[in-house]
């Protein structure tokens, strides 16, 4: 068991813990912070999978923007001022569903014979190659995604405009 593997297990433990924090914590802001932890751990997993560029993008987008947006939303919606039940009624069902999904996944994963599971062949992925592929093979989806982003920005601006009579 190599050092990276140990680090991987540690990071994945952090990730799962963060996820559990997101789902279980009584305080919404706490769960947001837990989400940061979890996503950072995801970035760490990317690093371990030798995709640093993706990891950094993850950090920039999530750690920078998404989490800030979420915290803003929490502030704007007064998550703290109104203490209330954070969980809906259908907890047991959800638990059952999630557990069933998990068992199904794990069964499927462990039940399958993975061709590439041999860990010695893995060499780090240079991000230049990723860039080449992204802008050659995936150029059109890239443009489409940029359009999607523009549309989303317009929509967000429109939505967050104050109503008439405000201001």
């Amino acid at each position: 068991m190599s050092a990276t593997e140990v680090v991987f297990y540690i990071i994945s433990f952090v990730m799962v813990a963060g996820g559990l924090g997101v789902v279980l914590s009584r305080n919404i802001v706490h769960s947001a912070l837990a989400l940061i932890m979890s996503l950072g751990a995801v970035a760490g997993i990317y690093v371990i999978l030798t995709v640093e560029f993706l990891a950094l993008a993850q950090l920039v987008v999530y750690g920078g923007a998404v989490i800030m947006l979420m915290l803003f939303a929490l502030m704007l919606t007064r998550a703290r001022e109104r203490p209330q039940a954070l969980f809906g009624k259908n907890r047991p069902v959800a638990l059952a569903v999630a557990g069933g999904l998990l068992t199904a996944f794990v069964a499927g994963i462990l039940g399958t014979e993975w061709a590439q599971s041999n860990r010695d062949e893995i060499e780090p992925v240079p991000f230049e190659e990723i860039g080449d592929v992204l802008f050659s093979v995936w150029a059109v989806p890239f443009e489409v995604v940029s359009v999607v982003l523009v549309i989303a920005m317009a929509g967000a601006i429109l939505l967050s405009q104050p109503d008439e009579g405000e201001r």
């Binding site: 809906g88 009624k89 259908n90 069902v93 569903v97 499927g108």
Partner: protein, 643 residues
């Protein structure tokens, strides 16, 4: 010949007029009365074309019959044909209906307005008038039971609407309801009869039905209808005729129908409503003839009605009621004639009666319109106030009384002739009594209305001669009343002599055509004059003799004045039998049909949905849960399928 095959245009024109008036009569100038009158006038003019074509075909020996139509519905092995037939009685009826309706409408134009201002629903009055005429004409021309029944009901509906024209008055509403329900009793009978005939013969064509009946009667090899069946069906049809023509048990609605405007009464009594029954029996007379006992029933009913209504007419004090009962009894005469098998005679009396009854009603209408009073006891001495009305009214009265040489005399004399030939002497005597009574009540009416001394000065002071639009129809009708009787003689060969002429091409020719029987003519004349004399003896002046006679037999008087308690009997029947049965039916309807049959499924759906819709909580988490469950199920399915 063209118009012989296109006689259906005659009812079509007033029908179109009705729809136009119905749609936009309110906005037409003068309420569209001109439209309705023009329609009827056109029909009247067309009648002459039809008559000419008819006579041509008769003289050409084609029998003057025409039968055009179109297939309305077509089923498996069953074709429903809407057809129009023209024969002599139809032609006579066309004449009567169109002419009388035209005059009545002209009359109505000024009757339905007071001091030049039309009454409310003026346009509606004329619209229904047009529909009434159209329905009657369609009934006349119908050659199959179905169209006839539709027109029949249309006539009933229009009479209902017109009798209840002043539906602000409770009595008018009651009268309309009474007329409708009473005639409905008969109509149900008619419908049953039609259905029975259809069941037996599988057709609605009147001629085919008659042929089948005759075949069933004549040759025993292929009996179509058993005697009982035939009798039942025929009597059911006759029930309808009785209802419409206000024969004995059903006569109660006609006097109350006086609640409507007087021109409407004229139309109903003279041209359209009540004569429909007579016309029906006349058209179906072959059927009655082959039915054992049917003719006797017709005779009996007619005779009873004639006497009964005559007696009642003597004691009535309301002008219009007197006229109503006189109509009833005259219809009785016609039925007696029909019962004797003399279609031509009956139609002839129908014709003359139409004219002088219309005349009488319009005259009384002008009296009522001018004085606003229709109680004979308050009237009197109007002769010099409204001479034309009085004169024409008297002419009509004398004609009804059967005074020679007015038209009534001839037609009634015809009836006596055929009765003498075809029935027992008892019936003849009783008919004489009826004639005596009719002369008596008409004379009484004239005496207490126009002659004698005025009893109510206010009424007298109000009385003026009617406006020309009302007087003109009176005069025309008076002239007709004077001269139409001479149709009886056959001047122009066999064709034009009226009764014989008709008899030549109704379904079976009566042996004798008109011939002037001295003894009978003398007898009827004596009877009528006796009636006149009795009336004068009783009612001239203060009429104390009448009171003494009444006091002589108080019970009988009370009986007569209460119309033999017929209305009470009906009322009792309705209260005791009809309403409880109706309540029972209503309970059944509400409980079984409505709550279970109709609300049941609705309630089931509603409660089911209230229970079912709980899964639509509107809470997004639940939807998410359902979504995930669905995805999981799909995945599991895929997994199972793959493995």
């Amino acid at each position: 010949m063209y118009w012989l095959d296109h006689a259906y245009v005659i009812p079509a024109i007033p029908a179109i007029a009705f729809f136009v008036l119905f749609a936009l009569g309110k906005w037409l100038p003068r309420g569209g009365d001109w439209l309705s009158i023009i329609a009827i006038g056109t029909s009247f003019v067309l009648f002459f074309f039809v008559l000419e074509a008819h006579l041509d075909s008769v003289n050409a020996g084609l029998g003057g019959l025409s039968n055009v139509g179109f297939d309305w519905l077509e089923f498996e092995g069953f074709k429903l044909r809407i057809g129009f037939t023209v024969d002599s009685i139809a032609v006579v009826m066309l004449a009567v209906v169109t002419l009388v309706a035209l005059l009545v409408q002209v009359y109505s134009v000024s009757y339905m307005r007071h001091h030049g201002k039309p009454e409310p629903r003026y346009w509606w009055y004329f619209a229904v008038h047009s529909l009434f005429v159209a329905a009657m004409l369609a009934l006349v021309l119908a050659d199959n039971f179905l169209l006839l029944y539709v027109a029949w009901e249309g006539v009933g509906l229009c009479s209902f609407l017109l009798i209840g024209f002043y539906f602000e008055k409770q009595s008018a509403v009651e009268a309309a309801k009474k007329a409708f329900v009473t005639t409905r009793l008969g109509d149900v009978g008619l419908l049953i009869g039609i259905i029975l005939f259809w069941r037996a013969t599988g057709t609605f064509q009147i001629s085919e039905v008659i042929a089948a009946a005759q075949a069933g009667r004549t040759n025993e090899l292929a009996p179509v209808m058993s005697d009982g069946y035939l009798t039942l069906a025929t009597l059911m049809v006759f029930l309808g005729a009785m209802g419409k023509s206000a024969q004995f048990p059903f006569h109660v609605w006609l006097p109350d129908a006086m609640e409507g405007p007087t021109p409407v009464s004229a139309l109903i009594h003279a041209a359209t409503m009540v004569v429909a029954g007579v016309y029906l029996v006349a058209r179906l007379l072959p059927l009655f003839d082959v039915t054992p006992g049917a003719l006797q029933v017709v005779t009996g009913v007619g005779l009873t009605t004639a006497l009964f209504a005559g007696v009642l007419a003597v004691v009535q004090t309301d002008i219009k009621r007197v006229l109503a009962y006189s109509t009833v009894s005259q219809l009785g005469f016609m039925f007696v004639a029909l019962g004797t098998g003399a279609v031509g005679v009956a139609m002839f009396h129908l014709l003359t009666h139409a004219f002088f009854k219309a005349l009488l009603f319009l005259g009384s209408g002008s009296v009522i319109h001018m004085t606003g009073e229709q109680d004979a006891r308050k009237l009197g001495g109007l002769w010099w106030r409204m001479p034309v009305t009085a004169a024409t009214f008297t002419i009509g009265a004398l004609a009804l009384a059967g005074i020679p040489p007015l038209s009534g005399f001839f037609s009634k004399d015809e009836i006596f002739v055929v009765v003498n030939a075809g029935q027992s002497d008892v019936i003849l005597i009783l008919m004489g009594v009826a004639a005596f009574l009719s002369a008596m009540y008409m004379a009484r009416l004239v005496i207490i209305t126009f002659l004698g001394s005025p009893k109510d000065l206010a009424v007298i002071r109000r009385a003026r001669e009617a406006p020309p639009l009302m007087v003109a129809p009176l005069v025309i009708l008076a002239v007709l009343t004077l001269f139409v009787g001479f149709f009886a003689f056959d001047q122009v060969g066999d064709a034009f002599g009226f009764p014989g002429g008709i008899n030549n091409y109704v379904y079976f020719p009566l042996p004798e055509s008109f011939h002037f029987d001295d003894t009978i003519a003398a007898a009827t004349g004596v009877a009528s004059l006796a009636g006149l004399g009795a009336a004068f003896w009783l009612f001239w002046g203060k009429a104390e003799r009448a009171q003494r006679v009444a006091a002589f037999a108080p019970k009988a008087t009370a009986l007569v004045e209460n119309k033999f308690y017929m209305d009470d009997v009906y009322q009792a029947a309705i209260d005791r039998v009809v309403l409880p049965a109706g309540r029972a039916v209503a309970v059944f309807d509400r409980v079984v049909v409505n709550d279970t049959g109709i609300n049941g499924p609705g309630d089931f759906t509603r409660y089911g949905s209230t229970w079912l819709r709980r899964h639509v909580t509107g809470r997004i988490p639940d939807y998410a849960l359902f979504m995930v469950l669905g995805i999981v199920a799909a995945g599991a399915l895929g997994f199972l399928v793959r493995v």
